[in-house]
C-alpha cells in the first residue's frame, strides 16, 4: 500500500515535470498527438482487463467513453457557467474538474453493469456483437436528445484547471491530467493482474468451469471486469471532452470501439505493455504517414498504408507484438547474452 502511494506520488511529480518540459520546449502540435495517445492508452489498458485478462470479447468500448464524455462535459458546463451558452472558454475549477471526471467514471461503470450482466449469457462473437449493439444504442440515443445538441453535441466544455507554474501555454495542463490518469490505470492494472482478483480473472479466461470449481465466482468477476474497464473508459471520455472542448455522438461510433480492440490485438492481448504499445502505434502510425499523403496529394493514402501494415502484421505475427508477455526489465535480462532462463 505504502509502495503504491509512493509510486502514485512519483507519477504525479513525473507528469508535472513532463507537462512543464513540454510547455517550455515542444510545439503544441506534437503535444496533441501525445494527448490522443494518452487517452487511447487509458481505453486500451481498461479494455485489456475485459478482453485480455478475462477473455471476454467486448466490442463496445466507445459507448462507455461516450457516456463519460457527455456526463463530464455537462457537469463541468453546469458548474462553471451555470447553463449552456455561447462565449469564450473558461477554466474549470479543480473541484469541478475532478468531480466531473469521477461522475463520468461512475456513470460509465453503471452502464458497465448494464452491459456486463446480460453479457454473462453470451460468449465470443455473440458477446462482441451484443456489446457493439449496446454502444450503438447509446450513441443513437445521445444523438436523438435535442437538449444535448443532437448530432452536433455539446460545445464549450471548460478547459482543464491550471497548476502553479503552467499558465501561459496553449497546451495548458492537458498533458499532466491525461498522463496522470494513464499512470494510474497502468499501475492499478499491473497490480490487479498480480492480485488474487487478477489471477481469478485469468483463471476464468483459461477455463471458466475449472475456475468455478476452484471457488472463483465467475459471474461476479466477469461483471467486475466490465465495471473496471467501463469506469476508466468513462474517465477517458471525460478527459477527451475537456481536452477537445466539444463532443459529438459521432465521435464515438463503432469504428472507435473496433480501433481499441485493434490496439489490444496488435500489442498482444492480455499484456499491459502490449496494450500501451498498441495504443501508441494505432494512434501514431496514421499521423506519421500524413506527410506522405500530403506530399503525394492523395487523400486517404495514409489510412491505406496503415491498413496494409495491419494486415501484414496479423499475417506474420498473429499473436501480437508481445503475445501475452510483458515488456519488463526481466525480459531484457533474459534476452541479453548470459542471462538467466
Amino acid at each position: 500500500m505504502a509502495k503504491t502511494v509512493g509510486l502514485l506520488l512519483a507519477g504525479l511529480v513525473a507528469c508535472y515535470g513532463l507537462n512543464w518540459f513540454l510547455a517550455e520546449f515542444i510545439e503544441v502540435v506534437y503535444v496533441d498527438y501525445l494527448n490522443l495517445i494518452g487517452i487511447a492508452i487509458v481505453l486500451a489498458v481498461g479494455l485489456n482487463v475485459i478482453n485480455g485478462l478475462t477473455g471476454q470479447f467486448s466490442l463496445g468500448h466507445a459507448g462507455f467513453m461516450a457516456i463519460g464524455a457527455f456526463v463530464a462535459g455537462l457537469v463541468s458546463i453546469q458548474l462553471t457557467y451555470g447553463e449552456m451558452s455561447s462565449g469564450p472558454l473558461e477554466l474549470a475549477g479543480l473541484g469541478t474538474f475532478l468531480l466531473s471526471l469521477l461522475l463520468a467514471g461512475l456513470a460509465a461503470a453503471v452502464l458497465g453493469v448494464v452491459v456486463g450482466a446480460p453479457a454473462l449469457r453470451l460468449k465470443g462473437d455473440y458477446l462482441a456483437i451484443a456489446t457493439l449493439g449496446f454502444a450503438e444504442i447509446t450513441r443513437i440515443l445521445l444523438t436523438a436528445q435535442d437538449s444535448l445538441g443532437g448530432p452536433t453535441g455539446i460545445k464549450r466544455i471548460p478547459k482543464m484547471p491550471l497548476l502553479p507554474g503552467t499558465g501561459a501555454w496553449d497546451g495548458g495542463t492537458s498533458v499532466f491530467w491525461i498522463f496522470l490518469v494513464v499512470f494510474t490505470i497502468v499501475l492499478f492494472s499491473a497490480r490487479l493482474q498480480r492480485s488474487t482478483y487478477g489471477r481469478a480473472l485469468i483463471a476464468i479466461r483459461e477455463n471458466e468451469l475449472a475456475a468455478e470449481t476452484m471457488g472463483v465466482r465467475a459471474a461476479r468477476m466477469k461483471v467486475m471486469a466490465f465495471v473496471y474497464g467501463a469506469f476508466f473508459a468513462g474517465i477517458a471520455g471525460g478527459l477527451y471532452a475537456h481536452y477537445q472542448h466539444s463532443v459529438r455522438p459521432d465521435d464515438f461510433t463503432s469504428i472507435r470501439s473496433i480501433e481499441v480492440v485493434v490496439m489490444l490485438v496488435l500489442g498482444g492481448l492480455g499484456s499491459i505493455t502490449g496494450a500501451v504499445l498498441g495504443a501508441v502505434a494505432v494512434t501514431l502510425v496514421p499521423q506519421l504517414l500524413r506527410p506522405l499523403e500530403e506530399q503525394l496529394q492523395v487523400n486517404g493514402l495514409s489510412m491505406v498504408v496503415y491498413a496494409l501494415l495491419l494486415i501484414l502484421m496479423m499475417i506474420f505475427r498473429p499473436q501480437g507484438i508481445f503475445g501475452q508477455r510483458e515488456l519488463s526489465l526481466k525480459l531484457f535480462r533474459r534476452i541479453l547474452p548470459g542471462g538467466r532462463k
Binding site: 446480460p118 449469457r121 453470451l122 460468449k123 465470443g124 462473437d125 455473440y126 462482441a128 456483437i129 451484443a130 457493439l132 449493439g133 449496446f134 450503438e136 444504442i137 443513437i140 440515443l141 444523438t143 436523438a144 463503432s254 469504428i255 473496433i258 480492440v261 485493434v262 490485438v265 496488435l266 492481448l269 492523395v298 487523400n299 486517404g300 493514402l301 489510412m303 491505406v304 496503415y306 491498413a307 496494409l308 495491419l310 494486415i311 496479423m314 499475417i315 498473429p318 499473436q319
Partner: protein, 316 residues
C-alpha cells in the same frame, strides 16, 4: 423510398411496411454473405460491406464508360434497356466474386489456424484498406448514380410501390430461392453444408475445403454486388464509405435471423427493414437507427442462436 401523404393510419402503416420490405430485401442480400462465411469459418467478414461498395462502383464505371451517364449534372439521364442493366449487374457480380475470393486467399487463408482474433483483425484491415483505397482510386466526392430505368409507381389500394423497389424485392426473392436450391440440391452446395457442419471431417471425406471456402466467398460477394447496384439505383449517390452502415445492419440481421442459416438471413433482413421503416415513419428516424440493435440484444438474450438458428453448445 416513398414519402407518405397524410392518409389514414392503416394505409400509412401499409406504406411503411412496403417500403420496409424493399429495404429489408437489401439487408437480406447482404446478410447472406455474412451468414455463409460465418457458417463456414466462424469469421465476421468485415470486408463484406466494402465488396458491396465495390459492386455499385463497378456498375457506375460500366455505365460511365458505356456513355450512359448524363454529360452534365442535373441533366436527365438516358434510360438504359433492362437487359443492359442486367449485364451491368452480372459483370459487377463476377468482378465482386473475384474480389471476394482474392480477399479470402490473401488475407484469411494464411490465418486459418491462427485462432479467431487474428483473422478478425485482418478483416478489419481489409475493410479499412478498401474504404480508403476506394477514396484514393474513386475520389472522396459522392458520385451521382443514375436510376437506369424509367421510374414508375404502381398503386395497390393506397400503397405506392415504385418499380425500383419492386425490382429489389423480386430480384432478392429469386436470388434467395436460387441460393437455397443450390445449397440444398447440388454437390457443391452439399460440400458447403458439410464444411459448415464440420470442416475437418469434410476434408477427410475428400471434399476440397479450400475450393469450397472460395466458392462461399464468391457467392456471398456476388450477392453483395447485386445489393450494391440495386441500392445505388434507388439512392441518389454512391461513396467509398457507403458500405459501413448497411454492413453493420446486415450483420446484425444475420445474427438476429440465426447465423449460418440462409432463411434466417432473409427473415432477419426483412424483420429489421420493416421495423426500421415503421419506427422511422411513425415515430422518429433517429430511433429507427437503434431498432436493429435493440432487436439484436433482445434476440441474443432470449434465443442466442437467432430466430431460425439451431442451438449448439458453443454459442450459448
Amino acid at each position: 423510398m416513398v414519402p407518405v401523404a397524410s392518409v389514414d393510419f392503416t394505409s400509412q402503416l401499409l406504406q411503411y411496411f412496403a417500403n420496409g420490405v424493399a429495404k429489408g430485401s437489401t439487408y437480406a442480400l447482404m446478410a447472406v454473405g455474412y451468414t455463409l462465411v460465418y457458417g463456414v469459418l466462424q469469421l465476421i467478414n468485415f470486408a463484406h460491406a466494402e465488396v458491396y461498395m465495390l459492386g455499385s462502383h463497378f456498375a457506375y464505371y460500366q455505365a460511365k464508360w458505356g456513355g450512359y451517364l448524363p454529360d452534365e449534372p442535373g441533366a436527365k439521364p438516358e434510360s438504359v434497356p433492362i437487359l443492359l442493366v442486367g449485364a451491368f449487374i452480372a459483370i459487377a457480380m463476377l468482378a465482386c466474386a473475384a474480389v471476394g475470393m482474392l480477399i479470402e486467399r490473401v488475407a484469411y487463408r494464411p490465418l486459418r489456424n491462427a485462432g479467431r482474433l487474428a483473422p478478425l483483425i485482418t478483416a478489419i484491415g481489409v475493410s479499412l484498406f478498401l474504404q480508403y483505397g476506394g477514396q484514393v482510386v474513386f475520389g472522396t466526392e459522392p458520385k451521382l448514380f443514375p436510376t437506369f430505368v424509367e421510374t414508375e409507381v404502381f398503386e395497390i389500394g393506397s400503397v405506392k410501390i415504385p418499380n425500383t423497389n419492386l425490382l429489389i424485392v423480386v430480384t432478392t426473392f429469386v436470388l434467395m430461392l436460387g441460393l437455397t436450391l443450390f445449397v440444398s440440391k447440388t454437390r457443391p452446395g452439399a460440400a458447403m453444408r458439410a464444411c459448415s457442419h464440420d470442416m475437418r471431417t469434410a476434408k477427410l471425406m475428400g471434399i476440397n475445403v479450400n475450393a469450397t471456402i472460395s466458392l462461399t466467398f464468391a457467392i456471398g460477394s456476388a450477392l453483395a454486388a447485386v445489393a450494391g447496384v440495386l441500392v445505388a439505383m434507388d439512392q441518389p449517390a454512391i461513396t467509398p464509405l457507403m458500405g459501413v452502415r448497411i454492413g453493420l445492419k446486415a450483420f446484425v440481421a444475420a445474427v438476429v435471423g440465426g447465423i449460418g442459416s440462409i432463411p434466417g438471413a432473409a427473415l432477419g433482413g426483412l424483420v429489421l427493414g420493416v421495423s426500421e421503416s415503421v419506427v422511422g415513419g411513425l415515430w422518429d428516424t433517429n430511433y429507427a437507427e437503434a431498432v436493429a440493435f435493440v432487436f439484436l440484444i433482445v434476440v441474443l438474450l432470449l434465443k442466442p442462436s437467432g430466430l431460425l438458428g439451431k442451438a449448439t453448445r458453443e454459442k450459448v
